[in-house]
Amino acid sequence: MGGGHLGHAGTDGLLIPGSTVVHRAPAQLKIAALLVFVLAVVATPREAVWAFAVYAVVIVGVALVAAVPVLTLLRRLRIEVPFLGFALFLPLLGSSPRVQVLGVSLSQPGLWAAWNIVAKGTLGVSASIILAATTPVAELLQGLERLHLPRALTAIAGFMVRYLDVIVGEANRMSIARQSRGYDPRWLWQARALASSAGTLFVRSFERGERVHLAMASRGYAGSMPELHRRVATANERVAAAAVPLLAVSVCVAAHLVP
């Protein structure tokens, strides 16, 4: 269901600093590569088990090159646990034909569906984890801008990411204040304190926004942030970044031709 994933780590807390090829690659190339990679994975027929093995090897390879510790990768994979729970039910609920596995009658289409969700979901999440682990948030935003996302969106995202830590900190302080007054909600009708906290949080966020805007306007802000270090991708970087999605697309095409 999402949520709750920001608890302790701030936005840049996800970054694993390093100077590998993957870290140095321009963000716009990494985002484009990620998009093509996950699209290829999703479009691969689920019966082509070998293709998913190739994708997994590619992901592990990139993680090794990027020096992302496998343990960290596995720990962050927990985000998909709710959907894995859903996937586990499919073989039990699915339609016939049914097969016997260790004495339990399981649905064959359900097993394929569960495999499909687990394999594609895990590959997609792993690829995103590697992107977030190797790209500072500021670069990620610049990358999105260089991919020609509408400026209003990247500007909203920029403010959001910069102030997330502040607002989350505010929310955590309010939560500690509630708890230290003995707030321990069990039922819905005890949510009133939470809601008035949310109202206060909105007013405080909004007023902070007003102050931030005034401060920026008085320092010469006129709608866009100056680009401090412009990163134009070199030809070599483009080729290197294209390797992963190209490989994925060819595996996907091959999987359709030879299932």
């Binding site: 994933h5 689920r46 039910f89 590959l123 403010f159 819905l188 109202g199 909105f202």
Partner: protein, 231 residues
């Protein structure tokens, strides 16, 4: 409700992506005259607020909990167009940074949680405003009911998407029943919290509630324009 990669097949995901791009483009166009450099900072802070609010897990019944989606809340507070943009930004950042929701499913997630809740929910809100008395209580009740229905609406749209391109072997009735059932419960929580949040904001800064502008247009002394006077 953050759909991961591979849950819905590629053609359906791509179609939803096209719908999401179109919807967001309309929002950008409609919000353009409001989104000057002043409003962009405020929209960004609103997005950060929605992000933080999604972390508030509220109790649904003993033991289980749900968290706010915030689409209707954002639409009532800053208007449906900017509200939908804020939720879209939240979902995109969650997807890229936290791997919450697949990148190939981002279109689906934007349609369900940003466009359907912000617009579907806001239409319900406007209808209720017409039916209920023109008072603070009327605004609070409308936003609460609209956000509860908005969550259920989002789960219905998910069920339709699942029916078109779901990869699960389970029948549509099973999935739809479970999804809508769970989201009726979440919707009740969302409705209560949204209503109470709107009433808390109305109590301290009524000028910040877009959906209640008509109540405060002639407020003595205070201009309905939000920006600059409180800083």
């Amino acid at each position: 409700m953050h759909i991961p990669d591979g849950f819905i097949d590629a053609p359906t995901s791509a179609a939803a992506g096209a719908v999401a791009v179109g919807g967001v483009a309309i929002c950008l166009k409609k919000a353009a005259d409001q989104l000057d450099e002043k409003r962009v900072a405020l929209a960004g802070l609103t997005a950060a607020f929605i992000f933080a609010v999604q972390m508030l897990n509220f109790p649904v019944a003993s033991g289980t909990s749900g968290h706010l989606l915030g689409g209707v809340l954002a639409a009532v507070l800053v208007g449906p167009y900017i509200g939908a943009l804020c939720v879209t930004v939240v979902l995109s950042v969650q997807c890229l940074l936290f791997a919450d929701g697949g990148l190939s499913a981002l279109g689906l997630n934007v349609v369900n949680m940003a466009l359907v809740t912000a617009f579907g929910g806001y239409v319900i809100f406007l209808l209720l405003r017409k039916l209920l008395p023109r008072t603070v209580g009327g605004v609070v009740a409308s936003s609460g009911i609209a956000s509860a229905l908005g969550v259920v609406l989002a789960s219905l749209v998910f069920t339709i998407e699942y029916a078109i391109g779901g990869t699960g072997g389970a029948s549509i009735a099973t999935v739809g029943g479970a999804m809508v059932g769970v989201h009726v419960l979440i919707g009740i929580g969302e409705g209560v919290i949204t209503g109470l949040t709107v009433s808390a904001v109305l109590a301290s800064r009524p000028d910040l509630v877009h959906g209640a502008r008509d109540l405060y247009e002639r407020a003595p002394g205070g201009s309905p324009a939000l920006v600059g006077d409180a800083a």
